[in-house]
Symmetry: C2
Subunit: 381 residues, 2 copies
Amino acid sequence: MLAPAAEALGVRFSVLAETADAPATQVISEVTVGDYTDFATLKAFAETVDVVTFDHEHVPPEHLQALAEAGHAIRPGPQALIFAQDKILMRAKMDDLGLPNPAWATITSVADAEAFAERVGLPFILKTPRGGYDGKGVRVIEDLAEVSDWLEEMPQLLAEEKVDFTRELAVMVGRSPMGQTAVWPVVETWQQNGVCKEAIAPAPGLPADKATAITEAILKVAGALDVTGVMAMEMFETPEGFLINEFAMRPHNTGHWTQDGAVTSQFEQHLRAVLDLPLGSPAAREEVSVMVNVLGADHEDLYQPYFHVMAHDPAIKVHLYGKSVRPGRKVGHVNAYGYDRDSVLARARHAADFIAGVDVDPYPDIPAPTHLAADDEKETL
Amino acid sequence: MLAPAAEALGVRFSVLAETADAPATQVISEVTVGDYTDFATLKAFAETVDVVTFDHEHVPPEHLQALAEAGHAIRPGPQALIFAQDKILMRAKMDDLGLPNPAWATITSVADAEAFAERVGLPFILKTPRGGYDGKGVRVIEDLAEVSDWLEEMPQLLAEEKVDFTRELAVMVGRSPMGQTAVWPVVETWQQNGVCKEAIAPAPGLPADKATAITEAILKVAGALDVTGVMAMEMFETPEGFLINEFAMRPHNTGHWTQDGAVTSQFEQHLRAVLDLPLGSPAAREEVSVMVNVLGADHEDLYQPYFHVMAHDPAIKVHLYGKSVRPGRKVGHVNAYGYDRDSVLARARHAADFIAGVDVDPYPDIPAPTHLAADDEKETL
């Protein structure tokens, strides 16, 4: 999804793809197929471009460090990326910065787990420090017997209290090497089985002081880690405030609404930031924007239901990724925007579920989409 | 500029490019280099794709006819495209449809030109029926001696009265093979030396009955010619109504504002239309949208001034085409949108001229950009 932004900015794009049929190869003309864990491959690729950036955090940090030391522009740099790669380092850093962590501990033995359970109670959350994604590498520990097999595989684990949150929030920032920053509005997110399902921008009813505290927190992190590019911070909202959950240092699912709902999309901003261009405005263009993921269901064919959705709602924005369908896999997302939150939410949810093949009414009773065309009248499209 | 729309729709794109370094090759991964006037090249290319469409009208109509007869999906089809390719056929067709033409005549001799001058006076406009573009193939005839050299080169020419217009207007439609249509708001355009320089959407102060008559006219043309894809109709506004100037059967410069200012861009709509997908909403997202072309000036380097513009106006949208700079050549365009027309116009004009290298104040006194973020308050970005 960076490719369209590169086109508009007049920037040439090369991709190091794992396989010749990776989705990125469908839209980027300069493709190198290779293994991102192999240093020689990375080095050869880096030599063909001005700036290297990422769409995931799994490139080995020692390789990135070596490339940076060899003078390649790695953005975000390994000194920042390591905190998105290693959740234990991240927790310690948030403590250093005085930012709100849930209770946590490094677990290297069953005794550590017992001590942590004594402190926060059961159940608690156990995570692999590296490599987790979309609910993978996360366990809810109800019984301490569930800790030991992971300890045999990994020298250390991260334990976190199970936060009793009111809802989940997320925020994103863009930051350039020159230190310019731009923060998008805070969004409400909804996870289903550990996978992001929805984002609503801006987060409904979020008090201004809480939004300000969240904005200040992500700016503090971005500055302290010298982040370049875009970064997402996921949070738990609690009655007292918020607790930091996770970071991603790349365009992120919780920012997909910006493609159609913000003056500058997260993809354009990421490119502007890693290229050290002045950043674009992160302002919302609409009263409310909603993103709903299309999660693979039983149906292989997304196109037939997509046609229906396009015909049913000519203002909906569907983004498909060109991936094959597997149950629960993110194969696309839907953006909707307008005035009325209930209507926008209903439109986006219906479209995403209908395309995925979830059994929903093809002609639901959704209020007509409203539009911002005129200042004081809400036109029906 | 179709490539980003294809990405979002999940559609694969192949391009037949004239040269290996054509701008399209920078953003489309499947490239065939070949001559679009050579039938064998066209045929071989058509066999690799499901639908063939165009970004100019210069493919020989007899080749398109042969491809269509061989069963290839050519959209728009040759039966429609011929009217954008041949201005004499177009004039005759508009007369057939009862739509408002300026006075015109086919000129095959100096005597024809004399008779036409007697009817409409001097100066009049002389055009080559085929192949004209951006003011090329057009002469203002002040003296009948200026007719004869063209008549030696071409069997027939098109003469048109020089219309005393109040301003120029343009409108675009999307139409699919199933016959669905969607018309964007009518825009005001401004041509400089025969080249489109600006478009303002919607056309300021256009009376509703005139906008309706224009919308009905383009729908009549699109239906009568069985157009598929998007089509632009350029017009002269007169005190009495409007007169048709020209057509383009492809995404058009007067529709570039839709990339950032409409629910569905002309590029997305063109793909939806030629692929026979349901069309998207053509509604304007903003009170006013302005497009200003970046026309090449003396400066080769567009990037340094582009940086300044990005920093100066974080809400401006700049689209560069990756073309080398030649004086007067369209090398990009700028879109701006907001509430206040004077401010939006000034921002877009300044950005386009500054990038091109025109000598303008780097920090002009432009009213702050206003934004649609809130319903009843106009936030400053």
